[in-house]
């Protein structure tokens, strides 16, 4: 098991290294370069000055050379300086990461609290009216454009009713914990709706699969109560694929929150990446994308480990 984890860790590191090059090349495709931005701010620069500036910053080097120089700095913990936020990239990244984590954990908890019971109850009576109803909810959740849902929630709860703030993390000037929680309500609900739609389907499918198996019939034959069969024998087994899917989803959740964060002006990772790309903040965009990729890979790794750890039938020896 340890050996398996170790070899997967190495694999992930290799994929991350390759993907960092891909990301670096893609960021290089964004319009202009840092010197173009300097020129825009200092119109007096001559062509000779521009050439020297490019040379000074290594922008005349070929792509691979520039990438290696950047990667070397990153490995030493230097992610560069953020142009937009006028502070080191790491200082900009960490608060955004924290904000994103709060948003994700809260919306995940809400989504699971709804999806688990709905999925289990639907799986107990496939084809029933309740099952059809749950199925409709799931389809509505996965077909919902999140930015529109967010917009509608703003229209109803902020504009028409005036109950909740339309965006941001707190009232300007600070308003304490209750104020922050109030600002979280709408973004959390938005993300939770989309999540619920997906998780209900997974929970239901996993439960139906398990309830068909022999050990469930054995439990029924020996006279176990239906409640005990569902809660004890089936749900625990159904949690294996559900946990795996959740772990696989970590990266997608992280960057998928981009739209929600933008709609609600919530300063998380998604909004940070969006603002960095839109504002030509190359260093910040690079670091944000790299972190998002690393999160996805870590999620995949976690899914793999969780799967082996939870299911005693799997062994890697």
């Amino acid at each position: 098991m340890l050996r398996h984890i170790f070899s997967r860790l190495i694999q992930s590191a290799v994929v991350l290294a390759v993907m960092s090059f891909v990301i670096y090349s893609l960021i290089g495709l964004m319009p202009g370069d840092p010197v173009d931005l300097m020129i825009a701010h200092t119109p007096g620069l001559t062509a000779e000055d521009q050439r020297r500036l490019r040379e000074l910053h290594g922008l005349d080097q070929p792509l691979l050379g520039r990438y290696l120089a950047w990667a070397g700095n990153v490995l030493q913990g230097d992610l560069g300086y953020s142009r937009l936020q006028a502070r080191p990239v790491l200082d900009a990244l960490l608060p955004a990461l924290g904000n994103s984590l709060i948003l994700l954990v809260a919306s995940l908890a809400v989504a699971l609290a709804i999806a688990l019971p709905l999925g289990v109850l639907a799986a107990m009576r496939p084809g029933s009216v309740f099952d059809t109803f749950v199925n409709m909810i799931a389809f509505a959740g996965i077909s919902m454009p999140v930015f529109w849902l967010g917009l509608m929630l703003i229209v109803v709860f902020a504009v028409l009713l005036g109950w909740l703030p339309a965006g941001g993390v707190e009232t300007i000037g600070g308003g304490g914990l209750a104020d922050r929680a109030l600002h979280l309500v709408l973004p959390v609900v938005t993300l939770a709706v989309a999540g619920t739609g997906q998780y209900v389907r997974h929970v239901r499918a996993a439960m139906i699969e398990i309830l068909r198996q022999d050990h469930i019939r054995t439990a029924q034959a020996k006279g176990c109560s239906r409640r005990r069969i569902v809660m004890h024998h089936a749900l625990r087994n159904a949690m294996i694929p559900v946990t795996t899917i959740l772990a696989l989803d970590i990266g997608a959740m992280f960057s998928g929150a981009l739209i929600t964060e933008t709609v609600f002006a919530y300063p998380g990772m998604g909004k940070l990446i969006y603002d960095a790309v839109m504002g030509n903040d190359y260093n910040l965009a690079l670091a944000g994308l790299l972190l998002a990729t690393a999160m996805t890979l870590a999620g995949n790794l976690l899914a793999d480990i969780a799967y082996a750890w939870l299911d005693p039938r799997i062994s890697y020896r």
Binding site: L26, L29, S143, F147, L151, M152, S255, L289, T296
Partner: protein
């Protein structure tokens, strides 16, 4: 017994159609899609008949409430919302179908060749697929949408700017969207290539190209059709999200996504503007998801017992 026998009658296609028709939501989805397509195609005719123009700005009639002349009111520039909604439908449906088809073609080709050849080639291709899947989708699409084509050595004035915007969205979504189909086709190919009829074809002297085209591809069609249908809905969601963020279809060309960008700016003065474009996206994506779900059941003969 009699029931079981009578259900097995008819050709496989006829039985698939029968299974599909039992799936009421899928039939409803298909009807909605056809209806929306017709409305979108008829948009110019409807505008001429109603005497409005989707592009006509009228600053004297900004954010007007619904009336006989403008059944859904006007937007922040006094343009008719209904007319723009149908024009936006043209763009969103076209982008959704085109990107899903391009992604399906790329994915099918990669999955077919990778699964059939196997070995080192397959291993490399599958690691590449894993890599693409590990990339954060939305941020990646944003970077691609913001990329400067001139840096890739493409001439900026090859196409009119409106067509460029649409083409770019189709290409970048297809570029990241091929992985699902590729994996499905590869899995189908791996199991099909060991089957007797494929071996017989090889023994009879059929080359790899012919085996893949004539024997494997037709038998792998079901997962391709289902995955492509489901991905149309996803593409429409992605396109509208990108357009909403100001990176997809650019105004004045209307799309459901960029109509909502204007609505977010106007949310305090004209909150009703936000309702219609989003509702159209929701209904369209829902219809494609229902259709895909129904096709999955219809094309999978094993689902007959349910």
């Amino acid at each position: 017994m009699m029931d079981g026998l009578s259900r097995r009658q008819g050709s496989p296609a006829a039985r698939a159609i029968k299974r599909f028709r039992r799936h009421r939501l899928a039939v409803a989805g298909l009807v909605v899609i056809l209806l929306l397509t017709l409305l979108a195609l008829a948009a110019p005719l409807l505008e001429a008949w109603r005497g409005v123009d989707a592009e006509a700005v009228n600053l004297l009639a900004r954010n007007a409430s619904p009336s006989l002349a403008h059944p859904l009111g006007t937007d922040e520039l006094g343009r008719d919302v209904l007319a723009r909604l149908l024009r936006g439908g043209q763009v969103s449906l076209a982008v959704g179908l085109a990107a899903a088809l391009v992604a399906a073609v790329i994915g099918t080709a990669i999955g077919l060749v990778s699964g059939y050849l196997g070995g080192r080639f397959d291993a490399v291709i599958m690691r590449l697929t894993d890599g693409v899947v590990a990339l954060p989708l939305l941020p990646l699409l944003i970077v691609l949408a913001a990329a400067d084509p001139a840096k890739l050595g493409l001439a900026p004035d090859l196409l009119p700017p409106e067509a460029q915007g649409v083409l770019r969205i189709v290409l970048i979504i297809a570029l990241v969207g091929w992985t699902t189909v590729a994996r499905l086709v590869r899995a189908a190919t791996l199991s099909l290539k060991t089957r007797d009829f494929v071996r017989a074809a090889i023994a009879a002297g059929a080359g790899p190209g012919r085996v893949m085209r004539r024997h494997i591809l037709p038998n792998a069609a079901s997962p391709i059709i289902v995955a492509t249908t489901l991905s149309v809905g996803n593409v429409i969601l992605l396109e509208s999200a990108l357009s909403f963020l100001g990176l997809g279809i650019q105004p004045p060309v209307p799309s459901w996504g960029n109509m909502l960008t204007g609505a977010l700016d106007q949310v305090w003065t004209a909150p009703s503007l936000a309702v219609w474009p989003g509702l159209m996206i929701f209904i369209t994506v829902l219809a494609f998801n229902f259709l895909g779900d129904g096709l999955q059941d219809a094309l999978d003969p094993r689902s007959e017992d349910h």
